[in-house]
Amino acid sequence: MSQDGNLREDTEEAVPSVDSENPEERIAARRLRIAARSEAKKRQELGDDSHEKKDIKEEARKSQHQVEQSEKRMIKLQSDGTELVTNIQVAADSRESQRRTEVEEAHRLRVEKLENEAKSSLEKFEEITRKWTVAKMKEIPQDLRDSLSSQQQLCALLIEDKNKLIHELQKEMKLSDDRYVKDLKKQGEDVDLMIERMEDQVKFLMGSYRDELDQIENSFEHERKILLTGNRKKWEQYMKERQDKELENVMQRMKRVEEYEVLLQQLRTEDAEEYNMIKIKLDTDVQILEQQLQQMKATYQLNQEKLEYNFQVLKKRDEENTITKSQQKRKITRLQDVVNNLKIKCANQEKQSREENQNLTDDYTRIMQQYKHMQKKMRHFAAIDAKKFEEVWLMNEEEVKALVEKALDTDRLVHEQQLGLAWQRPPLAFMERCGPLQPQRQAQKTAHQAISELLRLGQTSGCSLGKGKYREAGAGPEAGVGPGAESPALAVEVYESGAGLESGSSEVERESEGSGGEHSGTVSVKMVKKLLELLCDEAGFLIESKLLKLLSPLEKDEQSLMKLDSIFTAMGIESEEDVYKLADFFMKYRHTQGEQTQDVSAKWGVASPQAERGEFTSSCSPTSDLIHPNDVLVALRAFTAHHCRPRELAASHQPSMLGLGGREDTEDAAYWEAMGDVIPEAKLKIWGALETALDKYHIVLTERSKFITDTQSLKQQNTELRMLLHQYVNSRVNAELEIPPNLVMQLAPE
């Protein structure tokens, strides 16, 4: 086994170790080992004669080889021995089986013989019995005697036969008895032989086992010796190496020691010299110091006296200090009392003021409530007033309109009937309108609407231009409803800049002209949209985080819309105008940054729309890209700085928006005036002249009417008279007359 271990060690040196920490490595090592073993065994089996490859490994396994050979030899010996021993048993077996066959055969023969015998004897017996009957028949004594004697003979014969058989059987029995004894003896001998052989075998096996053991031991011993010598050699080699090394080390050490000794000596002498020098120096130093000590002593004396005086003085001072201290203490206690009092007072005061504060806050809340109430009332009244105003207005307007209609009608009548002129209806815009005048501001779009529109526009920017136009046109009238007379046209012009700015996409330019609400909306919608998106991205910090969370499920456009809305509210941008202002500002900001800050506010505030447009186109054409995202915040701040001032102003009249007082009544007068001025001055003059003429005409007419009545009355008289005449003519009297009047006078048929 030591051999085996050795082998294992040999293999382990090169390949993964069995004792390694790593289990996989161990497994690998074991596998290798098993493979090596099986291989070795194979080689042993195959190539006992192929001794050419007798390497070190083969040699190392000599003992194992020996073991196996011995094992084989022993197995063979054992089997041979067992065979030798069992040979006896086998022989006995064969003998036994042979004996059995013989016995069987003998048994069979015997049975046969017995049967034969029985048969023959039965025949004989039957013969005898038959003869008995014959004998009984015999009467003659001699015959009877003869037959009896023959019978006797026959019986004797039968008995003899039987006896013979018995004798034979007994002989056989004796034989088999002998044989049994012989067999027994033989078996005894066999057993003895077997035991002997077994003993021999045991002895022989023991001897050979011992031999083999000796051989194996020898081989092991031999191997061990080889190993030992090898190891010893190695050991000695190592020892020698070590010895050499030690010797070398010792030599080196000696050398070093000598060196160090020399060095030490040197150092010692140097140190002694130094020591002397230092000693002399120190001696002188000591003398000097002693002198100084004397001096110091003198000064000390002096100082002592001085200090004693000082001490006295300080003592005095101390006494004084104690007195002042006590005084101060008393003062402190007094002040403490005062402080306490003041504290109490302060607490009281605080309490009072708190109560007061409470009262005041109560009052304040009450007053606030009252104020709110009042406001509500006021709003209510304002609404009612407005309603009433509107109603009154409407009523008056109706009345006035009726009057105007009447005046116009009369005018038309005058013109058409009296003057015979073609009458033309003056343009009367206000007639179409009803209700009180609305302030124009409300007509403006809010920033929110503007953005949403913009975004929508941006979305549909790919659509046909006509659509865009239509939308703009549609938006126009909406805006145009509010401002009445003073805004003759809040027109929206839609340009199609074919030669303009961008090739593929249509661009809508918007320009609106009005009294106040003119915004510099010359920026392209797309631009604005981009700007807005930029703003949305950059000014995200203005949006509340809560809102962002709420927005997350929405669509992107809607999200950006809401974000922009919140950003604008944060910045205070409310109207569309402001949005455009912002966009414009941004454009310009970018522009002006290059030229380094002109007065931006002045520029965009004063600039005429034409100029702006020009500017815009010029600014837009070179660069389609927008303000740089990084500048957005700066620009935004600048914008709010500029924008906030006007807004503050605007905020100052914010409250007036609440009531009706803010309603502009300057236009009302003009409105009503316009109503009054339906008939112009020239026409009135015409009317005056016409009146006088008509008056004259009237007089003539009245005269004529008088004449007409006269003629009528005369006609009536005439007719009456004619009637009478007729009567007279047609009377019978006439007939009696020779000359009737009718004949005389030719009466004209009426």
């Binding site: 040979n87 086998v90 089986s97």
Partner: protein
């Protein structure tokens, strides 16, 4: 023996004692490990000695410290009554002393290296072997049961005494012929009834019994060697009741067909029986048929029925069972009368069987036809390890056929063809093949061992 100078201080009595006992002079007595300088023994030792003395009345052992226990066990007398010691003492040292005292020659290795088991087995065997029916009280046996039931694993009964005959009977026996005839219908010749014992021994695994009398010498009578029907019946019942039995051996007991059938009937479906040995009996074909039936209704691994009277039909019955069997490893039919009829049947069965490893057909009057079938078996079957055909007249031709079969075989490592009249050439060839097979098996065994070792490492 010179006196030490300080000896003078001792009183004269001590001096006398010193002179008388040289041991007192020495301070160290190496050969006595119990010796100590202290003259007064320890109280604990005294107590222990007392316990040892009165162990029979008051057995105190388990309560003691291990050291004291050893002390007591060393000193207990081997002749203490078993009722006290049997279930109390488990120390092997004590039982070793008991065995040595009683029998002198003891081989503990055959008793599982347990002296206690050895003691009780041999004790019980002695009691049974000396049991005389009707004369001995069965209580002597039954009394032992509670004491030894936990330790007895094997019973090897080497003789069973018949009941003592009445003096008148012995007078009648003078006419030996009439006595042997009378024995059957005369008073019972039954032996010890195992029915009262076997079902109580809960650890019994092996049971060997011989119905005969040892060392009768000149008092030989045939009826001393009688295995009666009633014996058989009671034994069969007892065997059936013993569920732990693994090995059963009944030999040299004149078991004939009827008794064999009775035994087998009771052994059918036995839960643990592995080995059955009915050698040196008178079993014929009918008994063999019963055994064949038993083969497939039990878990038998080894069947030994050599030196019986089984012929062709019986062998055919066994072969029929063997063909279907899948548990039997060893079959011994030595010294029967199978003949070619039986041999061929067995060989045919081996063509189908895949478990049998050892087969002994020595001395069975088989000849060449069997050899031909067997050679076929050798070619086809590769589970058979050992085959013994000695003392069969196979002849030259049979040898050649066998040789041919062996050439194609690689599993048989033992083949005994002594005294079969085969040619030397065949003999040599067969032995060559067998040797080859042995070598292969050996190397395989070695590699397996190596593998086992390495797997143990993991």
């Amino acid at each position: 023996m010179s006196k030490s100078p300080g000896a003078g201080m001792y009183p004269p009595v001590a001096k006398l004692n010193l002179a008388a006992d040289p041991r007192k002079m020495r301070r160290i007595i190496a050969e006595d490990p119990e010796w100590s300088l202290t003259v007064v023994p320890l109280l604990s030792n005294l107590c222990l000695q007392c316990i040892v003395r009165n162990f029979e009345e008051k057995p105190i052992l388990e309560e003691l410290l291990p050291r004291h226990k050893d002390y007591v066990l060393e000193r207990l007398s081997p002749s203490l009554p078993l009722q006290v010691t049997a279930n109390l003492i488990s120390d092997d040292g004590y039982w070793k002393r008991c065995c040595k005292q009683r029998w002198g020659l003891c081989d503990v290795s055959s008793y599982g290296h347990s002296w206690k088991r050895m003691f009780f087995e041999r004790h019980l065997e002695n009691i049974i072997e000396l049991f005389i029916p009707d004369a001995t009280d069965p209580k002597t046996v039954l009394g032992m049961v509670p004491l030894c039931r936990n330790y007895v694993k094997r019973l090897d009964i080497s003789q069973l005494l018949p009941p003592i005959k009445e003096p008148q009977k012995s007078e009648d026996d003078d006419n030996s012929d009439s006595a042997s005839d009378m024995g059957m219908d005369g008073p019972s010749m039954d032996h010890f009834d195992f029915g009262i014992l076997l079902d109580k021994l809960s650890h019994l695994e092996e049971f060997h019994v011989v119905y005969r009398v040892k060392g009768c010498g000149m008092n030989f009578e045939w009826n001393l060697f009688e295995f009666t029907f009633r014996d058989c019946e009671s034994l069969a019942k007892a065997l059936k009741s013993c569920k732990t039995l693994r090995v059963l051996r009944i030999h040299q007991s004149k078991v004939d067909d009827e008794k064999c059938r009775q035994l087998v009937n009771n052994l059918l479906d036995h839960p643990s029986l592995r080995e059955l040995n009915l050698s040196h009996n008178l079993i014929g074909d009918r008994g063999a048929r019963a055994i064949g039936k038993l083969l497939n209704r039990s878990k038998l691994e080894s069947l030994t029925v050599y030196d019986n009277n089984i012929r062709g039909p019986g062998a055919q019955a066994i072969a029929y069972a063997l063909a279907k069997n899948s548990s039997l490893l060893s079959l011994n039919l030595r010294l029967n009368r199978l003949g070619d009829e039986g041999g061929q049947a067995i060989a045919q069965a081996l063509l189908k069987n895949r478990t049998l490893k050892w087969l002994h057909l020595g001395g069975n009057e088989m000849t060449e036809p069997t050899a031909t079938v067997l050679s076929q078996v050798l070619v086809q079957n590769n589970t058979l390890r050992s085959i013994n055909l000695s003392c069969n007249r196979l002849g030259m031709d049979g040898g050649k056929v066998l040789e041919e079969g062996m050439c194609h075989n690689s599993s048989v490592v033992e083949c005994d063809i002594r005294l079969t009249e085969v040619g030397q050439e065949s003999d040599y060839c067969i032995s060559q093949v067998v040797r080859n097979n042995q070598n292969q098996a050996h190397t395989k065994h070695n590699t397996e061992e190596n593998l086992a070792q390495t797997s143990e490492h993991y």
